[in-house]
């Protein structure tokens, strides 16, 4: 990796900003920010360095120190990037939260991590206010859209930044220093905090170059929200520690706007998600003929398996190749991928990244032959491997056996070394790239007064890969009607998140459970899909 790391200084906040200035890239555009209304504002690496140093001083002034947890809870906006990198500069643990999270989702994450501070918008204050008395460790809230402090602990970003110095000496940060925190769903229990270390930068930068194929002359656009590991690993860290210009857009999905950005900003490498590509496939080929994509070299994809139709569509309608990549929150960086220079096998995950040990193992840990589906495992010790699940070492240990990390995915390898995803081996739902726990949604549904029982499943969906279907049974006095459906939808949306909102809610008499009370989701799934439910001997009537 060029001469990025000097004197064992692995601090990601520094490597993405100050180090770039030291390498003579201070005047280069780091971020081309496009507001939702497409107003453009360029931030150089030097400016990003100054802003993040200011924010580091702000956090220090508020009592944040190494290993304190600080969260961003923002839509995509410049302050998101400043706060994230500024927090890393002070060696705080930088967590990112989707801006569509509701208060239950916030409470789980802020509570478990004992977060000390959070930066958000005024519109989210209501959610935080509802849970603040249950967050004794939360000392302050910074608001990006108020001019003055609202109280002693609800503070104005602009006011704080105006008072902060832009001189900050980043402390020496060895590779094992905790860095980034993302919460991920488990099939049972609360979400787990996946903690990474600053050493992850080594593989994030390497894969940015060798897998995504991005060079310093490129203009790179990663559409992922920073709530996702993709949004931090490849929407912040990988490109910026290499001095690469990134486009970031604050608006939502719109085919015309997105392709206008690709054309007008001269994006050369675009990293997006299968759901987005499948939505784009709905437009006619004529629509795309109106855009000049001459500068776009290729597209990469991540989040869910990319169906071969999307690859064929991109070749035909855009004249571009799409390279599907695979990784997880826990892996921190891409592990298996199709990439420029390799033959793309449409529908496959691709081949392992150089240096990554991948194996397909049986339940007893023995390796399976090519063509046999089994546990997709990674040999432990890759540079961006997560350090632990925060406050849950037992869960962390349970993911490793005999030197292998068990990903929870099932896959097989073909004789040419390409890997093919078969599915999850738990109940986790992957909807539009968001991994959602049915348990969390069921818990939320049970908080609706009329709901007596709930069972949640994921079923195949043409657009989102999987969609969430909720089965509910009601208390005797309640009746199911559109008003109750709306009430349920709003409850889940506002307490958990909009992405956790069921696409369908089906009212049934009773939720099938086994004799120990466990919800039999496979029975619900079979019922929904019109399939044989198999052995029903353990269903409790």
């Amino acid at each position: 990796m060029e001469n990025l790391i000097v004197d064992n200084q692995y601090n990601i906040g520094f490597l993405c900003t100050g180090r770039q200035c030291q390498l003579g890239r201070g005047d280069r555009v780091a971020m081309r920010w496009l507001s939702p209304s497409l107003e453009r504002r360029d931030y150089s690496f030097a400016e990003l360095d100054r802003l993040t140093s200011r924010f580091a001083n702000v956090l220090q002034g508020l009592g944040v120190s190494a290993q304190d947890v600080f969260f961003t809870y923002l839509p995509k906006m410049p302050e998101q990037f400043v706060a994230f990198l500024g927090a890393l500069k002070v060696q705080a643990i930088a967590g990112t939260l989707f801006s569509n999270f509701g208060d239950d989702a916030l409470l789980d994450r802020l509570g478990d991590s004992c977060a000390k501070g959070i930066i958000t918008k005024k519109s989210s204050l209501k959610k935080l206010a509802r849970i603040r008395d249950r967050l004794p460790h939360l000392r302050f809230i910074i608001l990006v859209d108020v001019e003055e402090h609202l109280s002693a602990d609800t503070l104005s970003y602009s006011r704080l930044m105006a008072e902060g110095s832009e001189l900050f000496t980043v402390p020496a940060t060895p590779p094992e220093t905790p860095s980034v925190l993302h919460y991920t769903s488990g099939s049972t229990g609360k979400p787990k905090g996946v903690l990474h270390a600053h050493r992850s930068v080594a593989l994030q930068s390497l894969t940015t170059q060798n897998v995504l194929g991005v060079t310093r002359d490129d203009i790179f656009w990663c559409t992922a929200d920073q709530g996702w590991v993709t949004g931090t690993s490849y929407g912040i860290i990988g490109p910026w520690c290499l001095g690469i210009t990134q486009v970031h857009f604050g608006g939502g999905y719109d085919p015309g706007t997105w392709f206008g950005i690709l054309q007008e900003q001269g994006v050369t490498v675009w990293y997006t998600a299968p759901t987005a590509l499948r939505m784009l496939m709905r437009e006619t080929d004529d629509f795309y003929a109106g855009f000049d994509l001459g500068r776009l070299r290729h597209i990469c994809s991540v989040g869910e398996p990319l169906n071969p139709e999307a690859i064929q569509w991109a070749r035909r309608a855009l004249g571009k190749e799409v390279y599907d990549t695979w990784f997880q929150t826990e892996t921190g960086a891409i592990m298996i991928a199709n990439r420029p220079g390799l033959e793309v096998r449409p529908g496959s995950m691709g081949v392992p990244v150089s240096g990554i040990g991948v194996a397909i193992l049986a339940e007893d840990g023995s390796p399976l032959p090519d063509g046999a589906a089994g546990n997709l495992c990674l040999r432990e010790g890759w540079p961006s491997m997560f350090s632990t699940y925060l406050n849950n070492n037992a869960a962390y240990a349970s993911r490793f056996r005999n030197g292998f990390y068990y990903t929870g995915d099932t896959a097989y390898r073909d004789p040419d070394g390409y890997y093919w995803f078969c599915g999850r081996n738990d109940d986790i739902i992957n909807t539009s790239g968001h991994l959602i726990s049915p348990f969390e949604i069921e818990s939320s549904l049970l908080e609706v007064a009329e709901v007596a029982e709930a069972g949640v499943i994921g079923v195949p969906d043409e657009l989102a890969y999987e969609k969430i279907v909720a089965f509910v049974s009601l208390h005797r006095q309640a009746s199911y009607d559109p008003q109750l459906e709306l009430k349920i939808r709003l409850y889940v949306s506002n307490r958990l998140s909009t992405v956790a909102t069921p696409a369908e809610i089906i009212c049934i008499d009773a939720i099938p459970k086994n004799k120990s009370g466990k919800i039999m989701r496979r029975v619900l799934k079979a019922r929904y899909l019109g399939l044989d439910a198999g052995d029903l001997s353990t269903v409790e009537e």
Binding site: S37, S123, K126, G252, L486, R489, L490, S493, T498, T501
Partner: protein, 79 residues
Amino acid sequence: MEILAELTEIFREVFDDDSIELTRQTTANDIDAWDSLSHMNMVMAVELRFKVRFALGELPALRNVGDLADLVAKKLARK
């Protein structure tokens, strides 16, 4: 109650944000929680409140809240 005022009430409940002040020019870019999924909740809430139904092709053509209010008014006038 004026349609815009009723829509404001609906939006505050759907998007869980009491600070929302709708104008005819308001778009999804102006409301933090307005994404494609919460949009479906909003549509359902508007249909239930005004007891109207939107046809499949009617909603994508709406540019802002003003267009939504006009569409609701048109449907109410037909009743």
